[in-house]
Amino acid sequence: MSRVWAVAKNSFVSAMRMKTAIVFMLLLIVLLPIMSLTSTGDGTLKGRVQSFVSYGLGLTSFLLSILTIVVSCYTLSSDIKNKRIYMVVTKPIRRFELVLGKVLGVAVLDFLLLFVFSTIIYSLALEMHRFVKTSPEELAAVNNEFFTARMALKANYDEGVVSTRAEEAYKNLQSSGQLSEDKSKQVIMNELAEAARHSLYSAEPGGVVIWEFEKVKPADTNDSFFVRFKFDASNIPTDKLFYGVWYIGDYRQIKYGQDKVKTPIYTVARKDVMRMVHEFQVPADAVAADGYLAVVFYNELENNSTVIFSEEEGMEVLYKAGSFAENYALAVLIIFSRLVFFAVLGVSLTTWLGFPVAILICFVAFFTGVINGFITTSFDYMGNNMAILYQFTIKPFLWLLPKFDENYNINKYVIDARLIQSGFFAMAVVNLAIKSVLLLLASFIIFARRELAKIIV
């Protein structure tokens, strides 16, 4: 192990003295404080803090990824190219120890830089209320909705209701002779199911939408939880404002006509702008003892428009389930695991490729990771036509590529103060760890067999 550390120390010193790391550090040192002063978000303190942390963490993660790729692709390939490897591999060090040492050196560099810069972002975010004039409400909002970690729950989805409604609609169309002759029954049923699903979460003027949640477990019943929603509408008024009344509590008490209301049902009347995310706070005692909770939206007649909530972002219930510091630390650790993955990728590739090719592949992997969802979807469409070929060629390759978008976009968790659950954390880290180990094993085999000397006669 001492030899692995010797190599690690050497590649760490290399990155520091070759000024590569210094340039990136200077960039971050200059940019982060400027961003903390200039980011405004939606104008509120919460918006400012959100946009600063989002851009700060994003920029740090981006620059450190680039740095990792450059350093990891350079460290071993330059040793081979400049023949310094002759004087290293002829010492009592196994070749896999050399590869491990190189990865470790870059990982230590990443760890230190990430630790320093994530701490700077954290401290600046905590102190941002001092930079601007802040009302006590804004301070409370930022504490409740940003400096926390909340569990986010989506409503239960009743597929039975959807299929019943779709079948009813199909029968209606059939009886009235309005069925399209161009489409098969399956296609029509799919369309009708989609429409039924849509209708579950939309309300005509005077109508309601009901969401039901289970396993809502706020840590403290004296505390509160948050209802987070976003909606669209069929008719758009000039001010884009919609009026609605929200009922939050145990809906079963009304549905099954119980005499006495055991848990309180809260009523909230609001007017909100469409196509934006809104949140409001509700006391936690609205949740039934078994963790059941219903949220009902009543669409005011005067809106004169159907209000439509999307399946994805339409409705969530959030409640405090952890601390911001812990959540932030987990997010930073996930970023670190990505950097380690790139360190492994860079060093592994240079066990058999030169610097230019290796760095190109790393950048392709990095940018693919950022838009992985898009690429996977587009290939999946193609896959329908070339099933077997796709299954055994592109699909395994796509699996090997990292994924940083959609659900794996950890920025989303920190900004919306969503709890990074241990299961998700483990999945994100283990996924990259498995890929890293596979890459390392392949590189050990290749490097152990490779002729390191150039042929000179």
């Binding site: 010193v13 002759y86 009592p92």
Partner: protein
Amino acid sequence: MTETNVIETFSLTKTFSDWWGRDRVIAVDNLNLKVRNNQVFGLLGPNGSGKTTILKMLLGLLHPTKGKVFVLGGDSKDPKISSQIGFLPEESYLYPYLNARETLDFYGRLFGLNSRVRKARIDVLLDMVGLSGMANRPIGTFSKGMSRRIGLAQALINDPKLLILDEPTSGLDPIGTRQIKDLIVELAKRGKTVLLSSHLLADAEEVCDRVAILYGGLVQREGKIEDLLEQKDKTQITTSVLNDRTIEQIKRIVEKDGGEIEIKPPMQKLESYFIDIVREAQQARKHTSGAVNRMEVSDTQRAAAMSDVLDKLVAAKIETGKTEKVESPAVVETEKVGTDYGVLNQLTQGSSLQQMPEPVEQFEKPKELSRQDEIKKNILDELTKPEGDQNE
């Protein structure tokens, strides 16, 4: 006590293929090389004769196309074997951003030496190669010769049993060259084995016991230096300065026997003349930003100084228990004179050696070397006499 081969190759062949896999160049052809323990073996040959390729195959940097290689009775890639090898490549490929001390520390760590041993050895080695004053300067700012000196220092940091030197004197000034030659002689006295490649024949002639002359990847001649170079039809007599009368008498005796004779004062070698000049400049304390070596006046003094350096080098012992068991570098403390046969036997009694068909001969190296050394010493004493004595 049986004598063993430190390096042995069987039908070692290396061909280089083109992109299509067709053999293009035969760099080494059916080489059967044997380097015995405590031998200074020279691989000589013009550029491109395959010297470096052989060394790279011995060290596992290239894979043989055909044949087998045994170094210290095994594979040089095995850490137990490589921990006993010191290697200086044809150029010193060092990390330009590390300074001299950090460089040696890095290589010391790769050998698994603990910090106390590393520090002691680095001090001795930096002093030996004359770079103590530049220990904290980045290698990137060093001249080629200075880098070469650091390269030599790193090859010695593990107190190796076997030293493989590729063109050891290339890029060095005459003082550095002299020092390397002294070092090789001194290491041989301590029972080490040295394999060097060179095309500088004068250097090889001075230090090697045995040489192989390569051309086109094939060994053209191999043997002891004296056997190869001895002119059997001539006799050379070296004496102190003689007066004219004695010279006349000698001439008469030789001519009476029907022989031919040529009498003239011996020429000083340019190397020793150069070293004298530099030594005088050093004594006058003239400034230099380059390497500074203490140049002792006589051969004996120089040998004693080199011996002192090597004593200090091996004086730093490994603290057992601090290094890992398997990876322990097996740095063997060297006896001052004679071969460490015990360790070598242990190393070479592996299964791989049992395959070697060569019968083992009795090796008389130490005796032979001391005789050779004695001759050299006499000549050099003669050369370094005060000038007045040499002139008639």
